[in-house]
């Protein structure tokens, strides 16, 4: 069994990661970290750069958690990537970070977390930034 966490280099993403680490230790399972980008813009600040991935890697390794970090860039929404990974690895839990968004922002951009909450086949744990 696996826990899947949707990671973005933001406070919400860090909060989700911390929670996921706690869950993984508690349940003693493998942790799959997904940080995806659609790859349609030159600049995407939600796509973690090498340094950030390295620090996540270090953090997981130091806590002795069995983990895999993936950064798919295949033109899909982040929600699709997280859901795909959860299905593929038969996840027992998905952990995501929530951020506050205005109703208008949600209307235009849609909401990644909403889609994961609605479409996931396993429990979803949603965390807010501390």
């Amino acid at each position: 069994m696996t826990i899947v966490v949707g990671y973005v280099p933001t406070p919400e993403g860090e909060a989700a990661l911390s929670q996921a680490i706690a869950e993984a230790r508690h349940r003693n399972t493998r942790l799959l970290v997904i940080n995806s980008a659609k790859g349609d813009a030159l600049v995407d600040n939600r796509y973690a750069q090498e340094q950030e991935i390295q620090s996540v890697e270090d953090r997981l390794a130091s806590q002795g958690i069995d983990h895999v970090i993936k950064q798919p860039v295949r033109g899909h929404d982040a929600a699709v990537e997280v859901l795909d990974a959860a299905e593929e690895h038969n996840a027992e839990l998905i952990v995501i970070g929530l951020r506050r968004r205005s109703p208008v922002g949600k209307l235009i951009m849609g909401s990644t977390s909403q889609r994961i909450l609605l479409e996931a086949d396993c429990p979803v744990l949603a965390v807010k930034a501390g």
């Binding site: 790859g39 813009a41 030159l42 600049v43």
Partner: protein, 512 residues
């Protein structure tokens, strides 16, 4: 006519509400395309050419002037925040600028670039206003033989000096000259293949849009960067007292390097930005900061870059000789409006030229005013989805090329020459010699004809003026220079500074 009063008249024209509005549109558009990946000022002016047919030429050129300077501001913003210089002239800015930004000094890097560009652009434009009439006075005294020689010099210099492979430069020049031959020039149908649609020649607008917009869009589409980058977050640019103290001398020195190189037929902006960088590194009180984000290393090269841009307009306006891509497309614009570029331009189109120069001053000021507060917004532009960006380029390229003559045949030409532009980018043929060949080829033939008419067909007539002889000697020196260099210093190591990133492709090789 006296420079000062002409310039004041220019300001009066450029500051009418409509023209001022075009100046504002120009600088905003210019900055946006400078920031956006894959778009540049040359492409933008080319795309706008057909649209501006309905405008007064003066308004159109005021807008183009804004795009010209704005593009450079935008370009330096991305080199600082992303370390992906779009043009070779901003490579140097990226070295120290991006290091500064990474060290949390993005605001200062952007500020010194913007204010330095303003200082250099203003001084450069003033020098342009001062020197262009002098060059014109000298140029009108020249006969056809000298003018022919100078055009040959400009073509060969751009081809031989800029770019990494002379052989590929000359290949591009040959293709451009061949394209320029098409049509009824000299009374005979050349390269028309019996096709009546080709009798008027290939429309320079279609060629420019094809090479700069379609070719570029296809090329980028084939090699889209797959891993997204991070833009370094930035607030409103500002500088502290010590930053000012460290910046103002590099600005002035950069300007001194940039303007003369820009004004030379083959100067370009790469050499002066590089020279400025090296000079600042040597003169700095903090040489240890170089390579780690020294503000002098942003201030100097940025100023040099903008001063060179102003310098480039001197031969463009005074002699009708463009030496960079944007100037070439602007020259094509003159031709499309039926305005004959060359030394007569100041006399025949005085009000237009002076309004253009005045709008350069205005544009520079507007850029400073607009860009200091808006830098964070420009950085947001980089998140625009690229499918829309490049689809938009193709959409407007098609629209522009079609609207010139309203015939689908032009779109076929657009595709063919777009494919050629793609091929040139793939195999390292520079685009500038091609476009210069298309524009200058027919004028070159005209001057040759005039020169030989004077001598009743005797080729020796080409050497009948002393200036012509001097120019030919320079041509020979330029062509022979690399050979001389090889003789003096075999295996000279390439200056590694000019290519600091691994963004370069295969190593160039040269046979010429």
């Amino acid at each position: 006519m006296d420079v000062w009063s002409s310039l004041m008249d220019g300001f009066a024209t450029a500051l009418t509400p409509m023209n001022f509005l075009y100046a504002v549109i120009g600088v905003i558009l210019g900055t946006a395309v400078g920031v956006l990946p894959g778009l540049g000022p040359a492409m933008t002016v080319a795309l706008l050419l057909p649209v501006t047919y309905a405008l007064e030429p003066t308004s159109a050129f005021i807008m183009f002037a804004g795009i010209y300077y704005g593009g450079m501001y935008g370009g330096s913003t991305t080199s600082i925040l992303l370390n992906t210089p779009g043009e070779s002239s901003s490579v140097i800015t990226a070295i120290e600028g991006n290091k500064m930004a990474k060290a949390g000094r993005a605001a200062q890097a952007l500020a010194t670039a913007a204010i330095g560009s303003f200082v250099a652009g203003t001084i450069g434009t003033a020098l342009l206003a001062l020197f262009a009439p002098i060059v014109v006075e000298f140029a009108v005294s020249l006969g056809a033989p000298s003018y022919f020689a100078i055009m040959v010099l400009a073509l060969l210099a751009v081809t031989a000096v800029l770019g990494s492979s002379r052989l590929r430069g000359f290949s591009a020049l040959g293709l451009g000259l061949a394209i320029g031959l098409v049509g009824m020039g000299s009374g005979q149908a050349r390269l028309t293949f019996g096709q009546p649609l080709l009798a008027d020649g290939l429309d320079i607008v279609v060629i420019a849009v094809a090479v700069f917009a379609v070719g570029e869009a296809l090329w980028v589409a084939a090699h889209l960067r797959r891993t997204p980058l991070h833009a370094i977050p930035v607030g409103r640019p500002w500088m502290g007292k010590s930053d000012w103290k460290r910046s103002w001398k590099p600005w002035l020195r950069g300007t001194a390097f940039g303007f003369p190189f820009g004004a030379l037929p083959a100067g370009g902006a790469e050499i002066p930005t590089f020279l400025s960088y090296v000079t600042e590194k040597r003169l700095s009180k903090h040489p240890e900061e170089f390579g780690k984000g020294a503000i002098e290393g942003v201030a100097g090269p940025e100023a040099a870059n903008n001063a060179a841009a102003a310098g480039t307009l001197t031969p463009m306006l005074a002699l009708g000789l463009p030496t960079n891509a944007t100037a070439a497309v602007m020259l094509a614009a003159f031709t499309s409006y039926g305005i004959q570029p060359g030394p007569q331009l100041f006399a025949s189109q005085g009000p237009l030229v002076w309004a253009l120069i005045a709008s350069l001053f205005i544009g520079n000021f507007l850029l400073l005013l607009i860009n200091l507060p808006l830098a964070p917004m420009w950085a947001k532009l980089l998140q625009l989805p690229r499918p829309y960006l490049y689809a938009g380029i193709l959409f407007f390229a098609t629209l522009g090329a079609y609207s010139v003559n309203l015939q689908a045949f032009d779109l076929l030409l657009l595709l063919i020459f777009g494919a050629m532009g793609f091929m040139m980018r793939r195999f390292g043929l520079p685009v500038l010699p091609l476009i210069l060949g298309v524009i200058l080829g027919p004028r070159l033939e005209d001057q040759l004809r005039k020169a030989l008419q004077l001598s009743s067909g005797d080729p020796a007539g080409l050497l009948s003026e002393p200036i012509a002889v001097v120019v030919y000697i320079i041509v020979v020196i330029i062509l022979a220079f690399p050979l001389l260099l090889k003789l003096i210093r075999p295996n000279r190591p390439a200056t590694s500074l000019l290519a600091p990133n691994a963004t370069r492709g295969n190593e160039p090789t040269d046979v010429g």
